[in-house]
């Protein structure tokens, strides 16, 4: 072989390097931790779900559950223990939102799903349970539902839940005001308020407004 160089017929080092490379990748694959929980809905599916309103439970539907005519439903109060002990919907269990993804609770929810039980999450209001509800729907728990109105609405209508079918006050997303009208209406200049206008932007004092201060 006059033109074949010895290095070319001897690829030992190439083999060693490639094998090392493969070993590193294999080690990586073996040690790869798969996450405990995985999303089964894509973000787009989630978006369609929340727009469709299909995972919600209306307060009047709760009536049948509480009266015991439907027994395939479990209520879970996602508020903390303190608030739960102050008062809760009859028959509701307390699993605070912090603990919802615990091993036992996930297992429990899986079992409930297998048994065909529906799970209704509620918090003080719809907003409080909305996030946890969305998380569980994205994880594939399609038996998890969200109570509209939350605990606050429930306490108001504890005794006449069935009659709230036509009441829409708990349905959020509606404007309470005609915004553009309101914005214009208050614009009529009042003499004493006008002085304030000049002052207002000058306020330099940093008032620490706490998240709860708005109070809506």
């Amino acid at each position: 072989m006059p033109n074949k160089h010895v290095h070319e017929v001897n690829p030992k080092r190439t083999v060693i390097t490639m094998v090392l490379f493969v070993v590193i990748i294999v080690i990586g694959l073996v040690t790869l931790k798969s996450p405990r929980l995985t999303y089964t809905l894509t973000p787009l599916q989630t978006l369609n779900l929340v727009s469709s309103n299909s995972g919600s439970v209306y307060p009047y539907q709760l009536d049948a559950v509480l009266k015991g005519t439907i027994d395939t439903v479990i209520l879970i109060d996602i508020r903390n223990k303190f608030e739960y002990s102050k008062g809760h919907i009859d028959g509701a269990e307390n699993i605070s939102a912090y603990d919802l993804t615990n091993k036992e609770n996930i297992k429990r929810l899986k079992d409930l799903k297998k048994e065909g039980m529906a799970v209704i999450l509620y918090g003080n209001n719809q907003l409080e349970a909305n996030g946890p509800w969305m998380v569980f729907r994205q994880l594939g728990f399609d038996n998890v539902k969200l109570l509209l109105g939350g605990y606050q609405y429930y306490t108001l209508h504890k005794n006449d839940l069935a009659k709230t079918k036509d009441d829409k006050s708990y349905i959020l997303m509606q404007p309470d005001y005609n915004y553009s009208e309101v914005a214009k209406a208050t614009a009529s200049p009042g003499s004493d308020i006008k002085k304030e206008t000049k002052k207002a932007p000058v306020i330099k004092r940093k008032k620490k407004t706490k998240a709860t201060a708005g109070g809506c």
């Binding site: 160089h5 010895v6 290095h7 070319e8 690829p11 080092r13 190439t14 390097t17 490639m18 490379f21």
Partner: protein, 179 residues
């Protein structure tokens, strides 16, 4: 016995596949560290920008191409990853040449069918073409063709396919230069 004489006679290069695997791993390491591939032509471009900017700053600013590469914060275009990479490439070549005994006095390598002068002219012309082409192609054979394709860039693939393809098309006309 015959084998041994061969080793001593032939040039001492490493197995091309070994070189390739190592180069591939180096490229991977570069992606891992810098988030981009290897590059050779960028250094020349930046050096030219730096020189033109030094000699004729007004001209450099007037030209959209130079202006693109002059750092806006007033630092020198030379203070760049690409320049350091190119300096490294030069010293790396020198190191390898030294180890394998190829680091010798200045010489021209050419096919026995052509003169040294012809080879030099061909090299300058080839270099010029490469200089122009690499700017259109957004990189040379290492920056666009190798690193670009390795990072799965479509543009990198285009440059690679056309570079080698055209090379083969025109190889016949320039065979005198090489064989």
């Amino acid at each position: 016995m015959k084998k041994n004489s061969n080793i001593n006679k032939g040039p001492r290069y490493i197995n091309p596949y070994f070189g390739g695997v190592l180069l591939g791993l180096l490229l991977l390491a570069t992606f891992y560290i810098a988030g981009r591939g290897l590059s050779a032509s960028g250094a020349v471009k930046l050096s030219i920008v730096a020189i033109v900017d030094k000699i004729a700053p007004a001209h450099a600013e007037g030209n959209a191409y130079y202006d693109k590469f002059i750092p806006t914060d007033g630092s020198s275009p030379l203070f760049n990853w690409l320049i350091f990479g190119a300096i490294g490439t030069f010293f790396g070549g020198m190191l390898s040449g030294g180890i394998y005994g190829r680091l010798k006095k200045l010489r021209i390598e050419h096919s026995p069918n052509i003169t040294g002068t012809t080879r030099m002219i061909a090299a300058v012309v080839g270099g010029m073409l490469f200089g122009i082409g690499s700017q259109f192609g957004r990189g040379c054979s290492s920056g666009a063709a190798l690193s670009g394709t390795a990072s799965l860039s479509f543009g990198g693939l285009l440059v690679m396919v056309f570079m080698f393809g055209i090379g083969y098309v025109f190889a016949y006309f320039f065979r005198k230069l090489w064989i």
